[in-house]
Subunit: 197 residues, 2 copies
């Protein structure tokens, strides 16, 4: 199974690498770091990652879309959104973290579906596409092949939840123990939805 | 303040990028991804990172050393350990995650000091240098300018603890909220030290 981690300038570092740590521990998963143009992509926290071009990737596997400040210009980028829509349609499963759900929402593929996003940017995310059934109180949300999580660290919990759905909760728990992570395994348990910042 | 994230082949992805997410949110911190030779370095989870050469870096700031499978050959690499010792001596603060403490222990700089490491590899880490006062039950341990954490995810808790020690617990809590992370702020609370895998 090919796992495509879709990166773009100013993506949020942990949005990608929390899930990567979990997915990288699943036997048979081959991780690929991709971007629309290929080459070096630098995260919001200044991490330079070498990427393959998405159009060279096998899009039939799992697509992971992080969020971050870089999503703000990209929701207006018709070329990016068109390519993302194609990739998400091809994918067997599509996982987003934080404001990555805003990018996916712009493709219209979430229309009429349930989804969530991070709590600080929630009003902006809703404004991107009001045809999505946005769930504000959720650590993560599943709807068909689409998994969307709350902010940043929630991506780790969601990805473990995805592994649990695919292979059983024991495998997810084993991975959580292996990375010494206290897994919030209840997707309705959102410690951050009512807090003010 | 320059923050040098020291990468090497087969480092564990989240060991580096959990702390990076936290450190990248501190005003005035400039993150640099470095390796002993510079160039592309690939993590255990196949992430290719472009690095600067450590000998070009300003070593006077904070040094972060991740762990992972790549530490196993490196504890035998006299050239690497010699350069690491120099970098750690220059650093104002030195933080290790997981088996990154085995690398630091090999420099002898932890001799007589308290330190910890991850729980699956603990016996191996102790065997690297028995002159260190290894603490088995700890989420993270501080001794002077040295911070050492348990496995993988513990690096996030330790780095927030470091920020709390430097700038107060409110700033650490604000960062934890910003990344929607439930911070284990008690370094003696180790949920994984008594578990079997």
């Amino acid at each position: 199974m090919d796992i495509n981690i879709l990166l773009f300038p100013d993506f949020e570092t942990l949005d990608a690498f929390g899930p990567v740590e979990v997915l990288g521990r699943v036997s048979g998963y081959a991780l690929h770091f991709v971007s629309m143009g290929g080459g070096l992509v630098t995260s919001r926290q200044k991490t330079p990652i070498m990427t393959e071009s998405m159009d060279q990737a096998n899009a039939a596997g799992i697509l992971l879309i992080p969020g971050g400040q870089g999503t703000r210009p990209l929701v207006q980028d018709e070329d990016f959104i068109g390519k993302l829509k194609y990739a998400a349609e091809q994918a067997a499963h599509c996982l987003t973290v934080c404001t990555g759900s805003a990018l996916l929402a712009r493709t219209e593929l979430l229309n009429g579906r349930k989804a969530t996003s991070n709590k600080i940017a929630f009003d902006w995310v809703k404004s991107v596409n009001s045809a999505v059934h946005w769930i504000e109180h959720a650590r993560w949300v599943t709807d068909g092949k689409y998994y969307t999580s709350s902010g940043i660290s929630a991506g780790i919990d969601m990805t473990l939840g995805f592994i649990a759905d695919q292979y059983g909760s024991e495998q997810a728990s084993d991975i959580a123990h292996g990375i010494e992570y206290v897994w919030n395994s209840d997707k309705t348990n959102d410690p951050f939805s009512r807090k003010k910042y």
